[in-house]
Symmetry: C2
Subunit: 223 residues, 2 copies
DNA sequence: CATGCTAATAGTGTATACAATTTCACTATG
DNA sequence: CATAGTGAAATTGTATACACTATTAGCATG
């Protein structure tokens, strides 16, 4: 018998598609969404669309205004900073917890990802960077074994994901980030949870600054 | 012209009612909800009900299982601890930020709330305690002026609110909590953000332990 | 009695119809 | 020409009908 989870509900499918369209930048901040348009676009009725939209609203990816409509959420610089500050706290905490869980195998897997990031930075291969950077960060999250913490971090990341991608083209901090990652890895090897937490916090803070800086060139995307 | 926000949508109304029914314990963890029952209960069709339920699901207050149904979320002890740990971080951070914003007026308002808490504890007036305790904590949140931080904390609080209330009847830590609050206030007066953050973290951690302890007497509510 | 089949029931998932509201273009009026 | 008003179109909000799935009770069969 086929796995039931494979034929997911239309609602769930639509939810994921719109969510990914937003995080990947196929739907841009401020863009107006109408239920009919989405309904035609995905060839389903408005019922599952509306339910998916409610979910996306709760997660902050879209904004409703009663009887008016829906738009992809825009973030102000203030909100952006706020979200990164919270991520800094939470990701730092996740690393702190994960440190004791990390085996030598984990460290070597992380080191491997780290090397791929160095290559990606050298080649200015943004796709490879994004992919491995996501892997690097999620490794700690997952190892922490805290489901709710994970969900929160992922949710917050989604809200800034597009902005982060946008800014990366202008970003000259690859080397800095690699330095941070190296420092985090080093702290993990030494099983120094305090240090690892501090380094991760610092890392996310730096990311925040870089993004705010580079987005000032693209003000139209910001609120 | 009447304020438009007054005649909110049915969906929003239902959302708030179910949410409050859960946080206030009129709907208990593990309780099964059917759309028809809710539909009859509130005399509206299933459409707004389902949308409200999606919202509640995103916030973790209820759990869906495809083609099966809905139930009010249960928390395991592990999850409970996890949520309190996150709250400890976030509320500590909120206090840290708010410290510089607090005027003398704010301090005196907080002191006033603090006094009411002392009275409530002396009289074993749980209602008064809950109310003023909520005021005390929200004061810092609000003063921090971070919208997203606020929302997160409130969301996390809702998920544990009922358990916290349950446990309070068995709780003998009023005096301890009052001591914590006093310490937090003291740190705020001294404008010592670091200290205030540490105290608040400690306070939430203590709450966590008290709740886990007292709920072990009511295992049936836990997962 | 145990087991497996079947039909009925209840509940969720989706589509559609209708109601209410907003928006916007067009017209009438000063 | 500016502006208020009016009505049609577009869009969201809600109700209802239908489809699909899961559960359960009852019956037949071994």
């Amino acid at each position: 018998m086929a796995d039931n989870r494979l034929d997911k509900s239309i609602r769930q499918d639509i939810y994921e598609r719109i969510r990914d369209d937003i995080t990947c930048g196929r739907l841009l901040p401020g863009e107006r969404l109408t239920e009919n348009k989405l309904s035609n676009m995905y060839n389903v009725s408005r019922s599952p669309i509306r339910e998916a939209l409610r979910q996306l609203e709760s997660e902050g990816l879209i904004s409703f205004e009663r009887n008016k409509g829906i738009e992809v959420s825009k973030l102000s610089v203030k909100q952006m900073k706020e979200i990164y500050d919270i991520r800094s706290l939470l990701e730092g905490y996740a690393v702190r917890i994960s440190v004791e869980q990390l085996t030598k195998k984990d460290i070597s897997a992380l080191t491997n990802i780290h090397k791929k990031l160095i290559t990606a930075a050298r080649d200015k291969n943004i796709q490879a960077w994004l992919q491995n950077n996501a892997l690097f960060h999620s490794y700690f999250r997952d190892k922490a074994g805290k489901e709710n913490l994970c969900q929160l971090i992922v949710m917050l990341k989604r809200r800034t994901y597009h902005y982060q991608n946008m800014s990366l083209s202008y970003d000259r901090y690859f080397e800095t980030y690699i330095g941070h990652h190296a420092a985090i890895l080093e702290a993990c090897k030494k099983k120094d949870a305090d240090l690892a937490e501090r380094q991760m916090r610092q890392h996310v803070q730096t990311t925040k600054c870089a993004i705010v800086e580079s987005l000032s060139m693209n003000r139209n995307l910001l609120m």
